[in-house]
């Protein structure tokens, strides 16, 4: 039983009619924030629901906090240690926030009223209001307060920040940062808002059409990945193993590469840099660029 990883997934296969999580494997190290990115329909939610045991899987091994997840899991005690937030507030709208506290007290053994009320005070969520009278931001804050008000060691968030304004999103991201400060807590955050992932994640995991394309350290990813804007002839000189995606138009070719250092070392590019002849531009790539290039190049290869 390895406790170095908060989540461990091996060879997971989950097939729907026209969609398949295709033999995916990944780990979420303890004490980190892992951002899970991918376009809509890439398989983020299916992966999360599989990990949580909410849907039966065809094949694979899943462990959360050392607990092996089985299809139709009956042991629910381990869930005391996780907090889950989906993209909407999943509490009936007619309930009052105060009622939620009483309900959760009777669901979680480790529920702490004072922690919950502290979070609500910090988030400016009134106890006396009904959930239907709260704004979307407040509803999400309420969901996050629930996830944090028991002994949760792992937060799993599925598009929890989507649809929120930047101020609320920043507030929520700050809380996640605080949560992992003691290195015993972990956050697994799926989002298509790549800027959020860029702000707080330690690792980035990219999923596309049911396949995990990579899991990389965010800093290394942002340091190494880059976009080379150059001529078609120059682009042809870039070693194929470095190329992630390519875009071409009449004026220039831009290539997403996984190691800009190696491109710089390439003799042809060195020459261009020194002689300023047929010069090229090298930009750092952000997560959104990486996502877009990957998706586009995949679509292109399918059209061919």
């Amino acid at each position: 039983m390895s406790m170095e990883n908060a989540i461990s997934v091996k060879h997971l296969i989950k097939e729907y009619g026209d969609f398949k999580l295709d033999n995916i494997s990944f780990q979420v190290p303890m004490g980190t924030i892992v951002g899970f990115v991918g376009e809509n329909g890439a398989g983020k939610s299916t992966t999360i629901r599989s990990v949580l045991g909410l849907i039966p899987i065809q094949q694979g091994e899943i462990e959360i906090l050392g607990h092996k997840i089985e299809n139709n899991e009956q042991n629910a005690a381990w869930r005391e240690q996780i907090g889950v937030v989906f993209d909407e507030c999943n509490l009936p709208a007619v309930l009052k926030v105060r009622d939620v506290c009483r309900i959760m007290r009777n669901i979680f053994k480790t529920w702490r009223d004072e922690k919950f009320t502290d979070y609500l005070a910090r988030f400016d969520v009134p106890l006396n209001k009904k959930i239907k009278d709260l704004s979307k931001g407040m509803k999400m804050k309420l969901s996050i307060a629930i996830a944090l008000s028991h002994d949760s060691r792992l937060l799993i968030l599925d598009e929890a920040t989507s649809g929120l304004d930047p101020v609320v999103r920043r507030e929520i991201l700050d809380i996640f940062r605080e949560f992992i400060e003691d290195e015993q807590h972990t956050v697994f955050l799926s989002s298509h808002i790549t800027s959020d992932i860029e702000k707080i994640a330690d690792y980035v995991m990219l999923i596309h059409k049911g396949k995990i394309l990579f899991t990389e350290n965010k800093d290394e990813l942002l340091y190494n990945y880059g976009i080379v804007r150059c001529s078609k002839e120059q682009a042809a000189l870039i070693p194929k193993e470095l190329i992630i995606g390519k875009e071409e138009n009449a004026f220039e070719t831009s290539v997403l590469v996984k190691d800009i250092g190696k491109v710089r070392e390439n003799a042809a590019f060195k020459e261009a840099e020194q002689g300023n002849k047929n010069s090229y531009v090298l930009d750092r790539a952000n997560i959104e660029d990486i996502l877009l290039y990957v998706v586009k190049s995949e679509e292109k290869s399918m059209n061919i």
Partner: protein, 213 residues
């Protein structure tokens, strides 16, 4: 499970005014008609719609999916609804008993007879109907279950009424009444109700266990 039942009770609190009004109207009606039987019967039937209402609230926000990310398993989720039905039924039966005992305050001793076997039959119809519609609710959602519920009410209720009519036509009624006391008839109905609910519970657990949440 306690938390789940508490959640449903809070949801019902919101519907309290609505049910209070209906209850008040029926109470006055019963006083005028010198019988509480209809009132209890109506309340028993209404219990089904109460449970459906809580499920409808849950469904609209995918509460069950959320609940299954907490220390709650499928069995607890299903059991909570069955316990809620029993609690509501107990409450209605309690009100029924209370009204029964208070009969002499409203009418003279010879007026306002209270038919326990009739109430037991209504409870049985209600529970069999719920026993059929609850697994449907866990499989296909509240909307489908509502249709099944109404259909079952007609089929089961109609069936029971039809059988009673035939029995009476064939002259078996008198013999039955001689053979079985009202208490025995009531017990038979209660046994039918309990057995159907038990079977239904296990089917619901199976159905909910296979569902993708």
């Amino acid at each position: 499970m306690k938390g789940l039942i508490l959640k449903d009770l809070y949801l019902l609190k919101g519907l309290g005014k609505q049910f209070g009004l209906v209850f008040g109207f029926l109470f006055l009606w019963s006083i005028m008609m010198k019988s509480f039987s209809f009132m209890i019967l109506y309340c028993v039937i209404m219990c089904g719609s109460i449970v459906m209402s809580t499920m409808s609230y849950d469904e609209s926000v995918s509460f069950n999916r959320f609940a299954l990310t907490m220390p709650v398993n499928i069995k607890m989720l299903v059991r909570a609804k069955y316990v809620l039905i029993l609690l509501i039924l107990l409450a209605v039966s309690g009100i029924g008993a209370l009204l029964n005992f208070s009969l002499p305050f409203f009418w003279s001793a010879d007026g306002g007879a209270f038919e326990w076997s009739g109430i037991a039959a209504a409870v049985a119809v209600f529970m069999v109907t719920n026993a059929i519609s609850l697994p449907v609710m866990f499989k296909g959602g509240v909307e489908k279950a509502r249709y099944v519920y109404i259909l079952c009410m007609f089929l089961v209720g109609g069936g029971v009424a039809g059988i009673a009519y035939l029995i009476e036509k064939m002259g078996i009624s008198m013999q039955l009444e001689e053979m079985l006391s009202e208490v025995s008839i009531s017990i038979i109905f209660i046994v039918i109700a309990v057995v159907s609910m038990l079977i239904s519970y296990f089917v619901s657990v199976k159905v909910a266990g296979r569902k993708e949440w």
